[in-house]
């Protein structure tokens, strides 16, 4: 473990992005993700990269659009209110089928909200954020190591499927330090024959555009995009199951909520309660398979979230309403305690399956 270093989650994202070959970062400062920009500001000039603090979040996401059009790995990062500002750009990236990595280190909302950790941008991340029919691949790290690993994965998925991958973290994940191993395996970017890199007078112009005024053509673009999404759902869904083999109470949680829930599951097991955890790693595509399976096995599923209950809707859909799904939450920058989750598990173990 001698080669392990302690790093903040935000720094791990930045370093992993550089290792993944990202040489263009555009952003605008906002707590609690500022260390990403600070790290890039320090490192990019030394390795021939570009760090640019844009005049706004909107400018930054449009610079991402530009660099991505030229076929380069590129990223931006922000926190909740800043991501809302990027909404238009996210939709345009989707409309132009451009790969990009966007990081959201969430804080409490709505509005300017607060600066403490939150998961209340789940809907925004998994349902769009911008207008139109589109998806983003949404990755939810639950450790500093995963902040690094999923950043690399995010670039690769974005390139493979020509779309935005989002790292959906929170203030805790961004600020905490843990050991991280940066011997990461990176797949170089694929060839990008569609990129606007100059024709060399040898081929027709590549046009990067999200405007399509003929409805039949625009419909076909949407159909084609959703055929790709179907492939992603089939191939790229990721999750972790923890002590689910014989569980009769299931906790559903991602990111920091999953860390807290793991403590509660372990405590419950010590008390003889058969609790388990399903931790989605991709929030889109959502891991339907383990929840469908859990629905036939457990008495109750408890969705633990730092929000008023957003992922719970996907848990209900995935479990087909065959089992009660209840919410255990804090909001506004507060974090559920393991004790709160344990209480919910105990209640479910006693009268699970009964009316909520």
């Amino acid at each position: 473990m001698a080669d392990k270093v302690l790093m903040k989650g935000n720094e791990a994202i930045a370093e992993a992005a550089i290792l993944a070959g990202c040489r263009h970062y555009f952003g605008y400062p906002i707590t609690p993700q500022t260390e990403i920009a600070a790290y890039m500001a320090k490192r990019m000039p030394k390795i021939g990269g570009t760090f640019l603090q844009a005049e706004s979040e909107i400018a930054a996401i449009n610079m991402v659009y530009g660099v991505s059009s030229a076929g380069k790995r590129v990223m931006t990062s922000s926190s909740s209110p800043g991501i809302s500002l990027k909404g238009e750009g996210l939709s345009y990236l989707a409309g132009a089928d451009l790969p990009a990595l966007v990081v959201n280190v969430q804080r409490g909302g709505p509005g300017l909200g607060g600066i403490q950790p939150s998961q209340s941008d789940y809907f925004q991340a998994t349902r769009g954020g911008g207008h139109g029919d589109y998806r983003m691949i949404v990755l939810a790290p639950a450790s500093v190591q995963e902040m690094a690993d999923l950043t690399v994965k995010g670039f690769e998925l974005a390139d493979t499927y020509r779309m935005t991958a989002m790292i959906l973290a929170d203030g805790t994940m961004g600020q905490m330090m843990e050991p991280v191993d940066l011997e990461l395996t990176v797949t170089p970017p694929p060839a990008k024959p569609w990129a606007a890199t100059g024709t060399g007078m040898k081929r027709p112009h590549n046009i990067i555009n999200s405007l399509s005024l003929v409805p039949e053509e625009l419909e076909e673009l949407n159909f084609a995009r959703y055929r790709r999404y179907a492939q992603i759902e089939e191939k790229e869904t990721r999750w972790e199951e923890y002590r689910m083999e014989d569980a009769d109470v299931c906790v559903a949680a991602f990111g920091i909520a999953a860390r807290v829930s793991k403590n509660a599951v372990n405590e419950a097991r010590k008390m003889g309660i058969r609790a388990g955890l399903i931790r989605p790693i991709t929030l889109w595509p959502f891991p339907k398979v383990p929840f469908a399976k859990a629905a036939g096995q457990v008495k109750e599923i408890i969705s633990v979230e730092l929000s008023m209950g957003q992922m719970i809707e996907d848990v209900r859909l995935a479990s087909g309403c065959r089992v009660p799904v209840t919410l255990c939450n804090r909001a506004g920058g507060m974090i559920p305690t393991p004790e709160q989750v344990l209480d919910a598990i105990k209640r479910a173990a006693e009268n699970g399956g009964a009316a909520q």
Binding site: M1, R259, V260, N266
Partner: protein, 176 residues
């Protein structure tokens, strides 16, 4: 074994640094660690705190709400967290700044005038490491090799001249 530390004091007392040192010491010993700071406007001149977990198992929640070990470097922190310590836990106080006796009788309290010792010994900024020396000693973890290895990780190359001062502070605390 899992030890949950909570470090608390004024911004500027080196609370986050002391926590980072504790985390690195765990890492050097091949243990699982996490370090989580409080962050936000309160850090500028107000109170600072950080949660550190050192464990032989993977760390679950990095948030320490009930510490096994509380390091309280000022009165507001002691007032705020004294009741949070687990029964049978330990509290380390900077008694230069915490003038009241503890209320709890079910925990082990070590009071050390760290700020005073720091200024008397010409290392006025290292009260945090004096108190850390006391912590390591009390917990039977003051092995000089591990301490030095961890120090080398947290004292940046730019401030390498501060290594000896940090070591001196740790020893002062351990021998008090």
């Amino acid at each position: 074994m899992t030890t949950r530390y909570l470090f608390a004091g004024f911004g500027g007392q080196g609370i986050l640094f002391a926590g980072k040192f504790a985390a690195y010491k765990g890492l050097m010993e091949d243990r699982q660690v996490s370090w989580l700071p409080s962050y936000g406007p309160e850090m500028r001149g107000g109170t600072a705190s950080c949660s550190v977990i050192v464990s032989d198992e993977p760390v679950g929640s990095p948030i320490v709400s009930h510490p096994d070990v509380l390091i309280a470097m000022n009165l507001p922190s002691f007032d705020k967290y004294e009741q949070a310590v687990v029964p049978g836990g330990r509290i380390f106080l900077d008694s230069t700044l915490v003038e009241r006796p503890p209320v709890r009788s079910d925990v082990t309290v070590t009071a050390i005038p760290a700020t005073q010792l720091a200024s008397e010994n010409g290392i006025p900024t290292l009260a945090n490491m004096i108190i850390m020396g006391s912590v390591l000693k009390a917990m039977g973890e003051f092995g000089e090799d591990g301490v030095l290895a961890a120090l080398k990780k947290v004292v940046s190359a730019k401030h390498a001249d501060m290594l000896d001062a940090n070591l001196k502070a740790l020893k002062l605390g351990a021998e008090y």
